[in-house]
Symmetry: C2
Subunit: 193 residues, 2 copies
């Protein structure tokens, strides 16, 4: 018994996500968001409360549309080496995809933690910890399946791979070539031999 929303929330959040991703949190103004989302600020505030609220929804959007795709690449691969390779190359795909601003919103936001609420910081840190945990789990499974030597430490290996993934996003932002980053992926895979 009320007026219906005229915009698609998912689409609007996706547009907002791209702006935060490119400019950073504080450097993104409400005016920027109005233009990108194609909405007046009143509609934005009505839907998301305030700027912090927008960002929290954007983080959830990023988790769904970006992180989960990468996770799937790891989980659905036939073996651990293929899985790790697809995970890291998937991150590179996203970085070099013209649809996105390059780098990673989570990495950016973790570095910009001084700008965010505790809730947002918890969310971003959790996404990284989930990545590490997913890797650790997959590596443990690989050990049980005999895909990896028993002496491999799944936990620290997972941390290293997660770190490498974040680091490659940084190098990408510093204009490292795709070829160079692809080669560094191969170096990481050597750890699994």
């Amino acid at each position: 018994m009320a007026r219906t929303r005229e915009f698609d929330e998912r689409q609007a959040l996706n547009a907002a996500m791209l702006v935060f991703w490119e400019k950073g949190y504080q450097a993104t103004s409400i005016q920027d968001l109005e233009q990108a989302m194609g909405l007046r600020r009143t509609s934005i505030y009505n839907a998301f409360g305030n700027k912090r609220g927008i960002f929290e929804c954007v983080l959830a959007c990023y988790k769904e549309s970006i992180m989960s795709v990468l996770f799937a690449r790891l989980d659905t691969a036939p073996d651990i080496r293929t899985g790790v390779r697809r995970l890291l190359e998937g991150a590179l795909d996203i970085h070099f995809d013209d649809k996105y601003p390059g780098g990673c919103l989570v990495v950016l936001s973790v570095l910009e933690s001084g700008q965010h609420t505790a809730a947002s910081n918890d969310a971003t840190a959790q996404m990284i910890h989930d990545l590490r945990a997913g890797l650790a789990s997959r590596l443990g499974k690989a050990k049980r399946l005999g895909e990896l030597p028993q002496h491999v430490d799944a936990s620290s290996m997972a941390t290293a791979i997660a770190g490498m993934m974040a680091g490659m996003m940084v190098l990408g932002k510093a204009h490292f070539t795709r070829a160079a980053l692809n080669k560094s992926v191969r170096q990481v895979l050597r750890l699994l031999d």
Copy 2:
């Protein structure tokens, strides 16, 4: 034949560096800088021109006081494994040092490249490329000295180590423990065997 400056430029820039490092560029206001540097904005503008000018000097300050110390740890080590270990652990030392805000100003600024001038972006990207180049050079030397197998690709190995270094700063900001990060350093060192 003019009034002398009452503040120490190095000290002032160090204070400004800490603020940019913690809050990010756009999120750092001139008022923040006035308080941290202990100066009125007129003195700041007189010395550095504008906010972008301050930041460019801060980057130079970071390069001198932070990056060069890490480079030295790599260059003065007795062998390549010790050098890489000291480089990565040195980065962790800085991250966990209470004197600093955690993470890395260069990594942050590269991620925030949408906020910076081309000059600043060139400077930060160059610092990362210099790191990689320094590593590649040292790895090449290690090969010639027989410290490393000849099949090691110094170039892609350098990229991977530089990436890992940046990535560990990200993980540190996401509250990974020192113990966990130390273990991931050991994983990276396995690449050199």
